[in-house]
């Protein structure tokens, strides 16, 4: 049996006045929709570790920028076999590999506490591991020739293919399958759930900062290699 109607009426009973004064209903709540200060999206499972967005995610941005620079100089080396181009291509690839490894390890640390285990054969984890292995093979290829020029030329060709496989492995294939990562199955990776405007104010400068750090490290490597090549008599 259901009631036909429910009526509400003012309480006629006696409530202690001091109790009424203290209750939040005694004062109008103002500006409840206005956000003040710095805030983060507070999501289930992730909680405060959403700040890893400033560290784990920019690693992959830096990796992409460094690998783009690497393939750029590889193409330039193929057009003009100047050892300087080869030095730059290999140094950028090396720094990119460093940031890729850091991205993978930080991802595993985060995954351990967000997904339950460090490696869950997520499509993005697998494809990234494949991409990093492809780039590791680049360095093995470089060092497996006695003749400098032969190794540099083949490595440059290989780098173009490695880059061509990097884009589908990192940006296309993971979006075609179900993934634990945000942004799977065709959605943009950064919905409002994952990144609000206050986070963007930190996230974008963080990308710029990490990128500058990555290129600076690569630049140190290039300068070292330049001196080394000079010392062993490889000019250019």
């Amino acid at each position: 049996m259901l009631p036909a109607a429910v009526s509400l009426s003012r309480d006629t009973g006696t409530v202690a006045p001091e109790l009424l004064d203290d209750s939040w209903t005694a004062h109008p709540v103002q500006k409840i929709h206005v956000q003040s200060g710095f805030s983060f999206p507070y999501q289930n499972v992730i909680y405060e570790s959403i700040r890893n967005t400033y560290f784990h995610v920019p690693m992959w941005f830096v990796l992409l920028f460094l690998f783009v620079a690497s393939v750029w100089y590889s193409v330039r080396y193929l057009r003009d076999p100047n050892p300087e181009h080869d030095r730059r291509a290999s140094a950028y690839a090396e720094a990119g590999l460093l940031f890729g490894a850091l991205g993978l390890v930080t991802g595993m640390v985060w995954a351990n506490y967000a997904w339950g285990k460090p490696w869950s054969n997520d499509i993005k984890q697998l494809m990234t591991a494949v991409a990093l292995l492809i780039y590791m093979a680049y360095f093995i290829l470089r060092r497996s020739f006695d003749e400098y020029e032969k190794g540099a030329r083949l490595a440059a060709v290989y780098n173009v293919f490695a880059f061509a496989s990097l884009i589908p492995l990192l940006y296309i294939v993971p979006r075609m399958f179900a993934s634990l990562h945000p942004g799977a199955t065709g959605n943009p990776a950064f919905g409002s759930q994952d990144l609000d405007n206050t986070m963007r104010a930190v996230f974008y400068p963080a990308i710029i900062g990490w990128t500058l750090l990555g290129f600076w490290i690569a630049e140190l490597r290039i300068r070292y290699q330049r001196l080394y090549d000079k010392a062993i008599g490889l000019e250019g």
Binding site: Y42, I46, Y47, E48, S49, R51, N52, F55, H56, M59, L98, A101, L102, V105, T106, V109, W110, N112, Y113, A114, L213, I217, L220, R221, Y224, L227, Y228, A231
Partner: protein
């Protein structure tokens, strides 16, 4: 120089020895999960810091070798 290198490496080993077991101890799960898993962020920053330091120290060692190489030539 060699003494300096030994000091850097022992510092890194010390850092690792102190921080990593605390960060990854399976039996001590609450440490990583307390206060909204904020310590996961600490662990991630630590991994990045140690990774970059490792790379730079490696580069520095190569530079030292190069310095010796060029000194012999001159």
């Amino acid at each position: 120089m060699k003494f300096f290198m030994v000091r850097i490496f022992s510092m890194i080993v010390l850092l690792l020895a102190i921080s990593l077991p605390a960060a990854f101890a399976e039996g001590n799960r609450d440490f990583m999960r307390e206060t909204g898993k904020i310590n996961v962020v600490v662990a991630v920053i630590l991994v990045i810091f140690l990774g970059i330091v490792w790379y730079l120290v490696r580069l520095e060692r190569q530079l030292t070798k190069l310095e010796h190489l060029t000194k012999d030539d001159a």
